[in-house]
Every structure is written in structure tokens, then in C-alpha cells.
């Protein structure tokens, strides 16, 4: 589904990803772990199409298409969704209006009829129930004045509505207490399906207790230096990132 090949990318002239390779198949859940500054957030932003990040080498193919040639909205139309580490506040933009505009933009791109307000509200209400979220969230401005937990749940709500083929969770666990973490993880788990792949980016192993990955990769200094199954995450938690780095240096 997603094929990243020898990816070099950076921002402001500084190279951050230095030859990253990654293959994600349909329905697979991959976790990327790594210390601060390894390039975790750069990877998610390059995949979502943030303009400030410049790709200097390598390729990314998604469902057979050259992902890097597409605008951010076109990537979303193809089925890429990134849950932001820091969701953006949009003062004065009503959350319901935002969600409906977003869903209908994606439906239209897929050749489906846009939903009218009535059908949209039905759909969003059922998603809210599934995610155990309060309806009052819909009446507020997007993310404006939301608590950290509310913001992340709003991200999961969007993901659930937009039904992406590849969901990228960019440090979704950051700033969440254990209860909020569990709610977010439950939401993510509810969305697991054989057609939906996920890329879970995290600094801590904790999130992976709740979202069990099929594969775990360690990102360090812009490259994946180790891949394994979920036991790798536990090993990392126990021994710290220094252990991997030391092994790298010795090799």
C-alpha cells in the first residue's frame, strides 16, 4: 500500500530523513519509535504533504501513485489521514461545518454524492456514540479552547468519519493522561480493518500497550535502524534508546 524508498528530506536546509525505507501492506499496523530529533514528525509531515518540508531524494508510492507529486488535499482524497500531534485551533470555524466540508470534499473526490446536513448529522452522531464523545464538541470552533484530550478525540472523530486507507498517528499519545489515552486507543482499535493500514508514531511504548502493532521500527538519525515485532517495543522500553544506538555504533 505504502512504499517509502531511500527517502531524504529536511526543512530549512537541514537534512532530517537520511535514506528511510519502509513498506506497509494493507491492514498492517506499523509503529515507529525513536528518540527526540530522530525524524518521526518529519516523516509524518512529509507523508501528509506539509510544504515547508523538502524531499531531496527517494520516492514514496501510495496505492501505486507518486505521493510526493500530490497536494495535501489530493493525498487526503486518496485516503491518507494524519492525526496531528498538535491539532490546529481554527477560531470561528464551527466544528460541524468543518467536519461536513471535509467529509464532502473527500466524498466528492471519490465520486460519491455529498451528504446533506441531515444525513451528515446522523452519521456524525453515530460516530460520536461509538467514540463515547460529547455532542457539544460539534457546536464549538474547531479545536479552539479544547483540552488536550478533546483535541485528540476530535482527531479520532475525523479519522472515523473520513475512513482513510492509511492513518498516520503522529505522537497521538503526547499530552494525554491514561484515561484519555485509553479512549483514543479504543477509537483507533475500533477502526482497525483488513483494508486500513496504520502508522503509529510514538516516543513511548505505553501507547503500544493499547494499540498492538504488527511491526515495530526504530527510527534514529533519519533512518530505520531496526525492525521487529511488538517485542522490540518492550525491549526498547526496558533498555532505552541508548542500547540500540550503541549497537548501531558497534556494528
Amino acid at each position: 500500500m505504502l512504499s517509502i524508498n531511500h527517502l531524504h528530506a529536511g526543512i530549512n536546509g537541514e537534512e532530517i530523513l537520511k535514506g528511510l525505507n519502509l513498506e506497509i501492506g494493507a491492514g498492517e499496523v506499523h509503529a515507529i519509535m525513536g528518540p527526540n530529533g530522530a525524524g518521526k514528525s518529519t516523516l509524518s509531515k512529509v507523508l501528509a504533504g506539509r510544504e515547508e518540508y523538502v524531499v531531496t531524494e527517494g520516492s514514496v508510492r501510495f496505492l501505486g501513485q507518486d505521493l510526493l507529486a500530490l497536494e495535501p488535499e489530493e493525498r487526503a482524497h486518496l485516503g491518507i489521514f494524519m492525526a496531528f500531534q498538535y491539532p490546529v485551533e481554527l477560531p470561528g470555524v464551527n466544528n460541524t461545518y468543518f467536519l461536513q466540508t471535509s467529509l464532502n470534499a473527500i466524498r466528492t473526490a471519490r465520486g460519491e454524492e455529498p451528504l446533506n446536513s441531515l444525513n451528515f448529522m446522523k452519521q456524525v452522531r453515530s460516530k460520536l456514540r461509538e467514540l463515547n464523545m460529547d455532542e457539544s464538541l460539534l457546536r464549538r470552533s474547531v479545536n479552539t479552547g479544547f483540552s488536550g484530550g478533546e483535541m485528540k478525540r476530535n482527531e479520532i472523530l475525523q479519522m472515523s468519519l473520513l475512513e482513510p486507507k492509511l492513518a498516520i498517528l503522529d505522537e497521538t499519545d503526547s499530552g494525554l493522561d491514561i484515561d484519555a489515552l485509553r479512549i483514543v486507543a479504543d477509537g483507533v482499535n475500533a477502526l482497525r480493518s483488513p483494508e486500513r493500514s496504520m502508522l503509529v508514531i510514538t516516543h513511548y511504548q505505553r501507547l503500544l500497550d493499547y494499540i498492538q502493532p504488527d511491526y515495530v521500527h526504530v527510527l534514529s538519525n533519519g533512518r530505520i535502524i531496526r525492525s521487529g515485532d511488538k517485542s522490540l517495543a518492550l525491549e526498547l522500553e526496558e533498555k532505552g534508546y541508548g542500547w540500540i544506538k550503541a549497537q548501531e555504533a558497534a556494528a
Partner: protein, 437 residues
């Protein structure tokens, strides 16, 4: 040098022109006589004066504006009025066409009385009691020639939801016109009113200057919700000074939307007579093309225990300009004052210009005051967030702008007015985005 001489000569001629207009208007009331004297001491506004520095004066001085006869069959029809009116006031409205009150097209609620200004001037000392004879040439000109307009009195009544709208339609006059109405609104002790005003040019094609004055007196405990939309026709210049005087425990909540005309200046002069009064001023301006909007705030806290909030936002595109000059003065006696002033601007083009100058002058020591200003382009993070959700770039820009303006628009008490402003904004943004593509 010769150009400067020519400029000075032209300024002198204009000044003479405006003074002689006032002299020949033959006033017979105290306000006009005082204003006439003032007029002979006031200069033509010039860039050297702080409050006129950032507004394009050549646009204001393009012609020697003067009262003109109607060029076309100027009468407003019942149908036109019905189309322009908001229609959310149970038919209660006051229509001023080119400043002249049209009683046949007007109707007011039971607790409200209306008098033509000319009649009120003869025996009512309320006219001019808040504004005085005028602090600058155009304010004094309005007072010196005071004739058109109305005095509205609202009594405290059983119906707290009383609504009224005022339609100011300027159209059908020969080019170079000058229209100078004055609206005086008195809310007696305990009275309440929701008032909407529209200043409309109605597709008019002739250049002219609307030089209006609004005086509002709020009695003890009176409450006024006031929504105003300025959507003059493209060649119109619009100047309106609003003078507000509040008695104890009164509340004013106003929203002013400056969207139309080639040039506009909206002044707000607020003063408090006794403690417990609250004033909330919200404003939004939209300057595109060659437009300029000038916002002048002069808020005086002269007594203890009053609060005011002034929140203004603007979107500028093309070569659009705006000037925001707002001062809150807290005098030595005005302890326990709470005053907040903010001005935020969104610039959509490199040629757009905003000059903003929020000021606090505080002479009391036990007060809570703040002011803040922002000027910026559309936030890249916001755009990326929306686009990452499948929303195309143009639509994302549109949503961010509407959200930005929406925080002010939604303070309009009249939903119909709010929707009209929203539609107008949407139409203008679509034009801007089409131009950017």
C-alpha cells in the same frame, strides 16, 4: 513647489466652499450657530493631524461635495424598501432616503416616538447634547447644516424585545452630492431596544459624501443592542460619527461592519455619566480593491466602575487599506475601570496596508486594562490542517477568513443582518480568491 501651491490653493478653496455652504444654510437654532462659529476656526483635515494621518484624504477631497437635487426619479418604492429591509422587526422601520426621513415608508413600535430633526431642533435641547458642535470640519459641517434626520425616543415598556431598523439609502442624486443626516436616539431609564441600521448605496453610480452623525443617550439601566452594516455603493464616501453617552447601569452592545464604499470613516465617541455602565463595541472591516476604511475610537472612562470592551477585526486584500486608531482614556477618578481593546488584521495581499494604533492612557491606579494588536497573513498551519482534511486550498482560505470575521459577525443581534454580511463577505472573498488564482 508649484504642485504644492496648487494643492494648498485647492485646500483653501475647499475650506471656503464648506464654510460658505454652512453660512448659506441660514440656521435658526443654537446648535447650528455654535457649529458655524466652530467651523470658521477648524482647518480642513490634513495628514499632519494624527487622526487623519493614515486615511487617503485625496479620495475624500476629490470633489467639492454639496447638496444636490435628485438626478433621476429618486423616490424609493415600497417594493425597494421591502427588498432592502431586514424584515425581522415586525415591520418597524425608519427609512431615510438621502438623509430625508420618509414617514410614509416608516413605522415604529408602540413605545417609540419619532420626530423630524428640523422640528426637534427648535425646542429640544437633546440634539447636539452629546456630540457638541463638532471636533473636526465634517462634524461641524453636519451640525451647522443640521436639518435632515430624526430624533427617536424609546420609553421603558412591557416589551423588552422591542426591535427597530433604520434604512439609510443613498441613491439617485447628481454626482458630487453631500448628504448629512443626524439620528438622535434616546433610551429613557430602563428602556430596551434592539436596533439594526443599514447604510446602503443600492447600486448607485454617482460619487458623493455621506456625512452622518449618530447621537445615542442611554438612560439609567437602559439596554441597547445595535447592529450596523455599512454597504454603500462603490463610488460613495461614508463618514459617520457615533456619539454615545451612558447613564448608570446602562448597557450598549454594538457591532459595526464596514464593507462598502470607496472610502469610509467610522468614529466612536463613548463616555460614561455614572457607575455600572457597560459598553461593548465590536467591529469588522473589509477593504479590497482601492477601498479604505478608517476606524476611530475615543473611549473616555471619566467615572468609576464602568467597563468597556472594544474588539475590531479587519480583512484587507488587493490595494485595500485600513486605519485603526483607538484610544481608551481612564481619567483619575475612574477607579475600578475594566477596559479591553483589541485589533486583529488579516492581510491577503502584499499591497494591502493597515495602520493600527491602539492606545491606553491611564490616570487611575486601581483599574484593569489591556490592549493588543495583531497583523498577519493567513496562518500556514491552519491552511495545512484544512487541506490535510481534503479541503482544497481556496476553500481553506475562505474558511479561515470567514472564521476570523465570524467572531465579530456573530455578535450582531440581528440574525438577518449577520447573514447578509456573511453572504457579502463570501461573495467578496470569492472575488479575491478568483483574482489570486
Amino acid at each position: 513647489m508649484s504642485a504644492m501651491v496648487a494643492g494648498t490653493a485647492r485646500a483653501d478653496l475647499l475650506l471656503q466652499h464648506f464654510r460658505s455652504l454652512a453660512d448659506t444654510s441660514k440656521p435658526h437654532h443654537a446648535l447650528a450657530l455654535k457649529a458655524q462659529t466652530a467651523l470658521h476656526a477648524l482647518p480642513l483635515p490634513k495628514r499632519k493631524q494624527e487622526s487623519w494621518r493614515y486615511t487617503p484624504l485625496p479620495v475624500l477631497f476629490e470633489q467639492a461635495w454639496e447638496p444636490k437635487p435628485a438626478a433621476t426619479t429618486a423616490a424609493l418604492s415600497v417594493q425597494q424598501v421591502a427588498a432592502l429591509a431586514l424584515g425581522d422587526t415586525d415591520g418597524c422601520r425608519i427609512v431615510l432616503h438621502n438623509g430625508v426621513w420618509l414617514p410614509a415608508l416608516s413605522q415604529v413600535p408602540s413605545g417609540v416616538s419619532v420626530l423630524p430633526l428640523a422640528q426637534a431642533l427648535a425646542d429640544d435641547t437633546v440634539v447636539g447634547s452629546v456630540s457638541g458642535p463638532g471636533r473636526h470640519l465634517f462634524a461641524a459641517l453636519n451640525a451647522a447644516m443640521a436639518h435632515d434626520g430624526v430624533v427617536i425616543r424609546v420609553a421603558a415598556g412591557p416589551d423588552p424585545e422591542q426591535k427597530l431598523e433604520i434604512l439609510h439609502v443613498n441613491s439617485g442624486l447628481a454626482s458630487g452630492w453631500l448628504v448629512q443626516p443626524r439620528v438622535v436616539l434616546v433610551l429613557e431609564d430602563g428602556a430596551q431596544l434592539s436596533l439594526s441600521e443599514q447604510y446602503l448605496g443600492h447600486d448607485d453610480a454617482s460619487a458623493g459624501l455621506y456625512n452622518g452623525m449618530t447621537e445615542i443617550l442611554l438612560g439609567r439601566g437602559a439596554r441597547l443592542a445595535h447592529a450596523r452594516l455599512q454597504n454603500e455603493a462603490d463610488p460613495h464616501r461614508h463618514l459617520n460619527a457615533l456619539y454615545l453617552r451612558q447613564q448608570a447601569d446602562s448597557a450598549y452592545t454594538g457591532t459595526t461592519l464596514a464593507m462598502g464604499g470607496l472610502w469610509s470613516r467610522s468614529e466612536f465617541h463613548v463616555s460614561f455619566a455614572a457607575a455600572g455602565a457597560h459598553c461593548e463595541l465590536n467591529g469588522f472591516y473589509l477593504s479590497g480593491g482601492q477601498q479604505s476604511h478608517d476606524l476611530q475610537l475615543d473611549i473616555v472612562h471619566g467615572v468609576p466602575g464602568c467597563s468597556s470592551t472594544e474588539r475590531f477585526k479587519g480583512i484587507l486584500s488587493g490595494r485595500g487599506r485600513a486605519a485603526f486608531d483607538g484610544i481608551i482614556l481612564v481619567q483619575p477618578d475612574a477607579q475600578k475601570t475594566d477596559a479591553r481593546l483589541s485589533n486583529d488584521n488579516l492581510l491577503l495581499s502584499r499591497q494591502a496596508e493597515i495602520d493600527t494604533r491602539p492606545q491606553l492612557e491611564i490616570y487611575a491606579d486601581d483599574v484593569q486594562c489591556s490592549h493588543g494588536t495583531t497583523v498577519g497573513q493567513i496562518d500556514a498551519e491552519m491552511l495545512f490542517y484544512l487541506r490535510s482534511r481534503g479541503i482544497p486550498r481556496d476553500q481553506a482560505v475562505n474558511m479561515v477568513c470567514k472564521g476570523f470575521a465570524g467572531e465579530i459577525l456573530q455578535t450582531c443581534r440581528s440574525e438577518v443582518l449577520q447573514q447578509r454580511a456573511q453572504a457579502l463577505l463570501e461573495q467578496r472573498l470569492a472575488g479575491v480568491l478568483a483574482g489570486m488564482a
